[in-house]
Amino acid sequence: MKQLKFDAAVIGGGAAGMSAAAELRSRGCSALVIEREEELGGILMQCIHNGFGLIEFNEELSGPEFAQKIEERAVASGIEALCGTTVLEIRQEGGFHVVYGVSSRHGVVRVEAKAVVLAMGCRERNRGNIRIPGSRPSGVYTAGLAQRLVNIDGYIPGKDVVIIGSGDIGLIMARRLSWSGCKIHGVVEILPYPSGLTRNIVQCLEDFGIPLYLSHLTTNIRGKDRVQGVEITPVENGAVRYDKSFEIPCDTVLLSVGLVPENELSRNLGVEINPATNGPWVDSRLMTNIPGVFACGNVLHVHDLVDYVAEEARRAGAFAADWLAGASPQRELRLKTGSNVRYLNPSKVDPDRENKIYLRSMVVKNGAVLEARIDGRVVKSIKKAHVQPSEMLFLTLGPKDLAEPDQRTASQSAQVEIAIV
C-alpha cells in the first residue's frame, strides 16, 4: 500500500479544494489534493456557459476557464494532486488524520496528515428526495447529469423536455437544450418566485419564450417505458388544487431542485452537521468539531457563485495553516440566526480580527437591512436594495464591531445575532 505524509490533505479538487491547497502551500505547508475524477476542476468542468469569475478575476469566464485559472495558481504554488483517486474513509490513527483513497493506478493510498480540508462539493437532489409520485420510466434526469451528458459526452437525453425546479442549473440547461434543437415545454416551480438568479430567468427562459409555471407542484410522472408526461398542479394560498391539475406531454424530465452537500465522509469521521445547511458546523476558523478538520466550498454550504467558493476556501487554507502553526483564537463569540435568516456560516466569530460571514435570507424583500446585534444593541447595519433566498449575502464583522462597550463585562457567552429587517 502506497503511504504518504503531508501537512494537509485536501479532499476534492474542485474550486474549493484547489484554492484551499494553494493557500496552504503559499504559507509553507505541504498539501495534497485528492480528486476522484481524472482531472481537477470539479463541477466547473461541465459548466461551459459564461458567468464565472467576475469577482475573483474581474472578467467573465466559462466554468472550465475559471477552473484552469485556479488550477494554474495552485500548480504555481506547488501543490501536489492525486487524481482518479476516490477517498474511501478518513480515520484518526495515532494522533494523525489518515485518509484512505483508491485508484486503479496506485491501488489503495494511505495519507497521513496533520490537517484535513473537506472540499467534496455537493450532489443534486433527485426525484425521490422531493417525492414525486408516479411511474418509473426512463427519461428522468437531474439537470446536472443532463448537463454532463450534453456538454461533455455529447448526447441529447430527449427532445421534448419539462424542467422541474427553477434552480440555475435547470435554467441554464433550458437554454442549452433549446440551442441543441430540443423543445422546452415549461419550467415548473413550487414557490411563488424563481429560485435561480434573475439574469438566468431573463437569458435562459424569457429570451426563448419558455413558460415558467410559478406556484405549481409536480404531482405525477407518467409513462411505462419512457416518460410520456408530467402532471402539474397549481398551489393557491397554500392549498394544492388537485381539481386544477393538468398534464404537459414530454419525453424527458429534468430536475433542478437543489443541491445537498456531500458529507458522508465527514459524518463517518464524526463531524457534526448543521441541519440548516447539511454542511458541518464550523467555528470562526472554518474548523469542524474535529480539531484539524476544516471545510469549505459546496461541502460546507451550497454557494451560487464559484467566486465566493474560492474566497471561502482561501480562508479555510489560511486557517488550516495557522492551526498547523499552533495558533488559535483567544476567544470566540457565537453567532445566532435572527429574523428572516436561514443560516449563518461560520457559526462563530473571533472578536480580535475581521470575520467574513455568509448568510441566506428566508424572504424576498426590497429595501432590506442586514443587522448585527449584541445584547439587542445594533453593532452593524447594511442596506440591501433586494434580498432573496437564492442569492447568498455576506457581511464582515471586525474588532470594532465586536468590541464590548464595557471591557470588564466582556464574556465568552456573548452572542451576536444577525437579522434581516
Binding site: 476516490t86 491501488g107 411511474s135 447529469l145 437525453p157 404531482t219 405525477n220
Partner: protein
C-alpha cells in the same frame, strides 16, 4: 429455437423467484430445462419489488399450503446463502403493539407461532420491546419477538439462483413472452409474441401476475389474478431511524400492515400499502398511498423523517383467493401451475422449488441426479465489503477495482463489468446486480459512467442503451 436446442424436458415460464428456484432445483438432474422470461432480464416482476423478508412463520395457520411452504422455505436460506452469495441476514422480527387491545392479537400470533414450531418466539413486555428496539415509540405497550425472521435482497437472490441454474445447464431465454401453446404429439409447443417457438414435454406456469392468461393459453384452469399494489419509501443509510430488526405492526384482517425494514444493504424500507388496482403493469406510486406510509411508520418509530427518503417504488401482489395455487393441472397434461404466489412467496420459494420437482416426478418426469452438479456460484468481491488492505490486493489483481464508479454505494468498475458480462445489459439490470445508481444520489453522478462502460463492453450504440429494455431508451441523439 427448436431446431437449435431441440426439445426440452421442462420449460419454466417466468423467471421470478419461483421460476428461478424451480430451475435451479431441476438443474440438479439430468434434464434439459428452459427458463423463459418475457422481460430483458430476470426478476423484473413481483420478485423485484417486495419487502424482502424471510418471514417468521407465525402469521398464517398450517392448514394453508403457503404456511407450510413458508416454514420449510425459511429454514433453507442459510444453506442457499452459503452456496449462492446473495445478501441475507437473520436479523429477527418484532411485532409491536401500541394499544392494550392489540396485545390479544399478539398472543394469538404467539400461539400460532408455537403451534407452527417457530424456534425462539417470545412475548415481550414494553420494557423488553424498548430494550430490543430503543427507537420504538413510547406508546409501545408490548409485542412479539421472532428471532428467526430475516431479510434478503430479493433480486440478488433471483440473479444468483439463475446464475447457478445456468451454470448447471439450464437455458435462460429472455424477451420470450409466451403467448400461445399447442400440443404436438407428446409435447407442448410454446410460441412467443415474436413468433419464436419452444418445444417441451413438461411446462411450469410460474408467470406471476400473468399466470391466469398463461393458464388459459394452455387450455388449463380458469382463474383470475388481481393485482394488489404495495408502495414503499426507501430511506438513506444515514437515517437515524434505522431499527435493528424488522418491525411489524399488529396485522389486520387483510394485510400484515406497513413495516419498517432495515435492509441487508443498510438502507431502510417503509411500506407496503395495499390497494387493489386493475392494470398489471401499473407500478406507479401515488400521493395518497405514499402519505399513508410515513404516517403509519411514524406511529411505530417517530423519528422517521421525510428528508431521509431517497426513492419510492411499488410492487404488485398476484392475488387469487387466500392460498397459493401449486398443483398439476387437472385440465391440461404435463402442466404445473404455480400461481397466486403472494406473500410469503419469497420465503416459501426454495420449498416451492422442491414441491414442484415432486409434482413433476409424480407426473412421470424421470429424475436422475447429475454427478457433477455444482451448487456454488462465484463469489464476487465487492469494493464496499473490503478493508483498505483487501481492496489494495484486489486492485493489484484487477485495476478496475480501483475505479469507484458509484460513490454512494461504493461500486467499482470491476463489479459493473462482471455484471455486464453475466448478461445484465440494461441500466436497471446493472443497478440490481451491483447497487450502482441505487444509493442516495440515485445515479446522478454515475449514470454517464455506466453508459460508457456498457457501450464499451457490449459494443452497443448510444441509442441501444435502455433502462430496462423495450422502449425505455436513455439517450435521444448526438450533438
Amino acid at each position: 429455437m427448436t431446431d437449435r436446442t431441440g426439445r426440452y424436458d421442462v420449460a419454466i415460464i417466468g423467471a421470478g423467484v419461483c421460476g428461478a428456484n424451480i430451475a435451479r432445483k431441476l438443474s440438479q438432474y439430468e434434464l434439459k430445462v428452459a427458463l423463459l422470461e418475457k422481460e430483458i432480464d430476470v426478476s423484473l416482476g413481483t420478485s423485484k419489488a417486495n419487502s424482502g423478508i424471510v418471514h417468521g412463520g407465525f402469521h398464517d395457520n398450517k392448514k394453508y399450503l403457503k404456511a407450510r411452504l413458508e416454514l420449510k422455505g425459511a429454514l433453507m436460506f442459510e444453506r442457499l446463502h452459503d452456496e449462492l452469495d446473495f445478501p441475507f441476514e437473520r436479523c429477527g422480527i418484532v411485532v409491536v403493539a401500541l394499544h392494550e387491545d392489540e396485545l390479544r392479537t399478539i398472543e394469538q400470533l404467539y400461539l400460532q407461532g408455537v403451534e407452527n414450531g417457530v424456534i425462539g418466539i417470545e412475548m415481550c413486555s414494553r420494557e423488553r420491546m424498548l430494550e430490543l428496539e430503543p427507537k420504538l415509540s413510547s406508546d409501545t405497550v408490548g409485542g412479539l419477538y421472532a428471532p428467526s425472521g430475516g431479510i434478503v435482497e430479493p433480486y440478488r437472490f433471483v440473479f444468483s439462483l439463475v446464475e447457478s441454474a445456468r451454470k448447471n445447464g439450464v437455458d435462460l431465454v429472455t424477451e420470450f413472452a409466451a403467448a400461445l401453446a399447442r400440443r404436438e404429439g407428446d409435447d407442448w409447443i410454446i410460441t412467443a409474441l415474436d413468433g419464436r417457438e419452444i418445444r417441451a414435454k413438461y411446462v411450469v406456469n410460474s408467470a406471476g401476475l400473468f399466470a391466469d392468461t398463461l393458464s388459459k393459453a394452455f387450455g388449463a384452469e380458469d382463474f383470475a389474478i388481481k393485482p394488489r399494489k404495495g408502495e414503499y419509501y426507501l430511506l438513506d443509510k444515514m437515517t437515524k431511524a434505522k431499527p435493528n430488526r424488522v418491525i411489524f405492526p399488529v396485522p389486520t384482517a387483510v394485510s400484515k400492515g406497513m413495516l419498517i425494514i432495515p435492509t441487508v444493504e443498510g438502507t431502510v424500507l417503509i411500506g407496503p400499502t395495499a390497494s387493489a388496482v386493475e392494470d398489471k403493469e401499473d407500478f406507479s406510486t401515488t400521493r395518497v398511498e405514499l402519505e399513508k406510509i410515513l404516517q403509519s411508520a411514524r406511529t411505530m418509530i417517530p423519528s422517521i423523517s421525510e428528508t431521509d427518503v431517497i426513492t419510492s417504488f411499488a410492487g404488485l401482489r398476484p392475488v387469487c383467493g387466500e392460498d397459493f395455487i401449486i398443483e398439476l393441472s387437472a385440465k391440461a397434461p404435463h402442466l404445473v401451475q404455480v400461481a397466486a404466489i403472494q406473500s410469503p412467496g419469497l420465503t416459501a420459494s426454495p420449498a416451492i422449488g422442491e414441491y414442484v420437482k415432486d409434482l413433476l416426478k409424480k407426473d412421470g418426469l424421470r429424475l436422475v441426479e447429475k454427478p457433477d452438479w455444482d451448487p456454488c456460484v462465484e463469489k464476487v468481491r465487492r469494493a464496499r465489503d473490503l478493508s483498505p488492505w483487501e481492496l489494495d490486493e484486489m486492485v493489484a489483481k484487477d485495476p478496475a477495482y480501483g475505479d469507484i464508479v458509484c460513490r454512494c454505494e461504493r461500486v467499482s468498475e470491476a463489479e459493473i463489468v462482471k455484471a455486464i458480462r453475466a448478461g445484465h445489459t440494461t441500466l436497471d439490470g446493472i443497478k440490481y446486480v451491483t447497487r450502482a445508481q441505487m444509493g442516495r444520489c440515485q445515479g446522478g453522478f454515475c449514470t454517464y459512467k455506466i453508459i460508457k462502460i456498457l457501450m464499451r463492453e457490449t459494443g452497443m450504440g448510444y441509442e441501444e442503451v435502455t433502462k430496462r429494455g423495450g422502449g425505455s431508451y436513455v439517450l435521444r441523439g448526438e450533438l
